[in-house]
Symmetry: C2
Subunit: 268 residues, 2 copies
């Protein structure tokens, strides 16, 4: 399952072994204690990238014939304001210039897929094998502009990320405004992305959200998240959700994320 | 716009007046101060039912030719466990028996529609006029079983409600488990329904959520919500999310909801 193995073993054999492995462990074996026991036998290094809920890049893998669709790139549903903000942060990103030189920039855009499995090496193939119909909650709608349109830019040195979010018509709560749960969702996504980027595999342990003013459907807001502190396995982060020009505070929140091991996800 | 008016004025005139009114106030008039000023001229009693985000019954209205689809009734996607729990709480509900007598029962099932506007008198018609494509975040998927399947039962005397929730495959966060934002969403829905039932029109002011153990996709959980206290415009509620047999605590949360006036939703 590693690059070394795939270089020595024919690709179709790797595919078959992967399929049998996945079906056996996570589908056929329904008894949770047995499933957990099998998972404990697998080297953590092999499973970690597949199970990272907020990893930040797609690794190369022989089974990955083409990269999955990146939902965080501009599409025709993006408003002028959404594009303007995207272009602003994109201009601050580190980029390779002619002659191989790198243009300095403290920021980087994070890709975004419709399953967290797809962030990892071999994730596209794995995604077909494991609960194929499952979709990441924030990327479960194919219709562009209908639900969550967002892109996250990360600044590693500042331990900060900014999420540009355009709220589609399927996110309604009170008439004409975004549902409190949808706001919580984009906050969990932003804070979790930052915590995961800084601390590895994490899961949400606490969210404390203050809703200050409603967010109208169709509007674009910024979620600006920062690291507060790290204490052992605990990563504390916080964010503000503001209007796109920063003049109006819509929501503010704190989040606590816990570094986990693989077995936790499977009831171990 | 009242029943008296509709009895005196031909229905097509009522429809036309309603359409012109809505288009003028909420679409054509884009300047927020002007829109708010117009909204302030309208009697609150006329707008309140349309704008209640968590009202509990569909009132009769001459324009309402047929009731909207009630998403909280059983459908083929419901698992055996979901149906068992539904039937248990349904058996505790007050019901009319033969001869017009009422079978006592402290519980009542709440209907659920794909827009909050549809809860109100004339809401189905209004929904077509105002942001027609908008959908309630928790009811925006037509495919049964794919996203949020839930039903809320209310016990008014105990100031408590129970939400039975089956998590579909479109709600994924960490591989195989429900997204923290989807859990926050069903918590906001449950707590907000209780607060709204007890205190009228409310909006979420704070959610504080502790995530204790992941919820596997496809599983059925119970969200048991109670009133803690009411202080002026503030309604304090809390809930626990447990496995369907109550043995495992998945999540616990507190919520603060503020009673609002209509203008707040429109930036007034």
């Amino acid at each position: 399952m590693t690059k070394v193995a795939s270089a020595l073993i024919p690709q179709e054999v790797v595919i078959k072994v992967t399929r049998v492995f996945c079906q056996t462990v996570l589908h056929t074996v329904s008894a949770r204690p047995l499933r957990s026991a099998i998972l404990r036998l697998i080297p953590r290094t092999a499973l970690l990238p597949w199970l990272s809920s907020r990893a930040v890049s797609v690794s190369e893998w022989p089974l990955l014939s083409s990269p999955p669709r990146d939902y965080s790139l501009p599409n025709p549903s993006w408003s002028t304001e959404m594009r303007r903000l995207y272009e602003y942060y994109d201009s601050l990103c580190e980029k390779e210039m002619e002659g191989g030189e790198k243009k300095p920039g403290g920021w980087g855009r994070l890709p975004s897929y419709n399953r967290t499995l797809k962030y990892a090496a071999g994730g596209k193939c794995l995604s077909k094998l494991l609960k194929e119909k499952a979709r990441l909650f924030t990327r479960n709608t194919e219709e562009q502009g209908a639900a969550f349109e967002y892109v996250v830019f990360m600044n590693k040195s500042e331990k900060r990320c900014v999420c540009i979010f355009q709220a589609g018509h399927l996110l309604e709560g009170p008439p004409g405004n975004v549902h409190g749960g949808a706001i919580a969702t984009i906050i969990d996504t932003s804070l979790g992305t930052l915590a995961g980027y800084l601390s590895g595999i994490v899961m949400t342990a606490n969210l404390n959200i203050n809703y200050c003013s409603p967010i109208p459907l169709g509007s674009v807001v910024l979620i600006d998240s920062v690291l507060d502190k790290v204490e052992g396995r605990k990563t504390f982060v916080s964010c503000q959700v503001t209007s796109s020009d920063g003049s109006k505070l819509h929501t503010e929140a704190t989040g606590l994320f816990i570094s986990i091991n693989v077995g936790h996800l499977f009831g171990g």
